[in-house]
Symmetry: C2
Subunit: 250 residues, 2 copies
DNA sequence: CGAGGGTTTGAAGTGCATCAAATAGTGTGG
DNA sequence: CCACACTATTTGATGCACTTCAAACCCTCG
């Protein structure tokens, strides 16, 4: 259980200043949070908290990937989201009687900034700018979830994979590019709501249909238009749709 | 296009006072909104706004049912939610550059209170209590959406129907009861992410499996435990889970 | 009564899941 | 640097749930 602040001089306040929803907060805010926070470093597979746990802290991802999920009595997992650099999670416990509404686990080696919920609560209740920023961010997340539900009902497995790949590209620069899957294919499959076997087969289909090239976890896309035409035809959003996920509070 | 205020003396302020997220607002708030709002009465099938429209007003449902949805170029619809008495919708446009992020249509005869977005924006920006109340409500909605996604990936068609029926019952009073489907089965099917034919067949299966009795749109449930056991076994939430949807801002 | 929508039923097809097994890839200790 | 163990991924065969298309039925309402 690594609890590290390797660089004693990492300035947490400075990092927090770059987080979109904190943009308009004052110096006092950053000072307060900076001194009440610390960096945690975890290996892959570390459970951060479980659904129903009492929550006292929330997290900002410095680097790595974290899976949020819930599970049924029978052990089936529903993945809520998989987050990375710059994204926050755990703060919604504030609105659920300080209980975590889902479980969280690292899926890659990860550096987290751990922040106190109590301070956040205080701040939200007195700092209207922050409350409004969080509202905005939540509203954007809501839209993202709507889209998630839509994808699962209107897109087939190959299209969902294609859509995911497109989000990894720079959607405003349509040049050929090469991307790397951020975590393993089994996890990606469940993130997309399908079985690993289905993922594998659907990816081959996608390859045949759009001319992408797959080598392990690296994927080369020559023709982004072709890929977006294939993937986005069964979606209500128009193609450069990446911004929907940007800057999300989670 | 009925735009009616049949009872000239309906006191909109009084209605707004009973809306959960406005609970802690002051008298000035209700006076301001009361005089800037009006009641609209619509038949079934009235389109209230379309995705992408410029938004100037948001709505509180006095009575009836409203469908929120998006559609693809090919005409496939993704239903986002179907709302009723006491629920609000359209206010999230504030966080999407004043553009409606979905379309809205009445699916039953409906009375709406139409309220000005501009006033809401003003109020959110100055009234921290309101902003926090909205945050809380949005967070609850987020949890509801998570559950929605989970249902679609872990529950089969019959279980989803069973879960929907349970939400129509009083989950804290397990006595036998009779419920009426709030809108037609075709719409309910798409609300639950399935085809009408599948709905019909899945409902028969549910009948056989749990002993409910179906007569048209009326359903009698003798044994709620039996129904919840069947439906909730593939869900991560424990049975009396109704509160998840309660008091939602939308 | 008859028209038209909502609902059910039947038959056939499709996509994804499941189970089983082969293969590729990775990290380990020798 | 190789062999082994272990995991991730792919492939094959089969089954099931849901969809699709078609037609019948039912109900309501003019």
């Amino acid at each position: 259980m690594a609890l590290v602040s390797r660089n004693k001089d990492i300035n947490i306040s400075e990092i927090l200043r770059r987080v979109p929803i904190f943009r308009n907060c004052g110096d006092a805010f950053f000072t307060k949070f900076g001194s009440a926070s610390h960096v945690e470093e975890h290996d892959k597979g570390k459970t951060l908290f479980l659904s129903g746990d009492a929550a006292t802290r929330f997290y900002l991802i410095g680097e790595g990937w974290v899976k949020l999920y819930r599970e049924t009595a029978e052990g089936a997992q529903a993945i809520i989201d998989i987050l990375t650099n710059g994204q926050m999670f755990g703060e919604t416990a504030l609105f659920h009687e300080d209980l975590c509404p889902f479980s969280a686990e690292t899926v890659e080696p990860t550096k987290l900034i751990s922040l106190p919920l109590s301070l956040l609560k205080q701040e939200i209740n007195t700092n209207n700018t922050l409350a409004v920023a969080m509202l905005t961010s939540m509203a954007r997340y809501r839209r993202y979830q709507d889209q998630e539900i839509e994808h699962r009902s209107l897109q087939n497995a190959s299209q969902r994979i294609g859509c995911f790949l497109l989000r990894l590209t720079d959607q405003y620069d349509l040049k050929p590019c090469s991307i790397t899957l951020p975590y393993d294919k089994t996890l990606l499959a469940s993130r997309l709501g399908m079985q690993p076997e289905t993922f594998s087969r659907a990816l081959s289909k996608l390859k045949d249909a759009t001319g992408i090239r797959v080598k392990g976890s690296t994927i080369e896309i020559d023709d982004i238009d072709r890929l977006s035409e294939f993937s986005c035809s069964a979606c209500s959003s128009d193609f450069p749709c990446k911004d929907i996920t940007a800057g999300t509070v989670c």
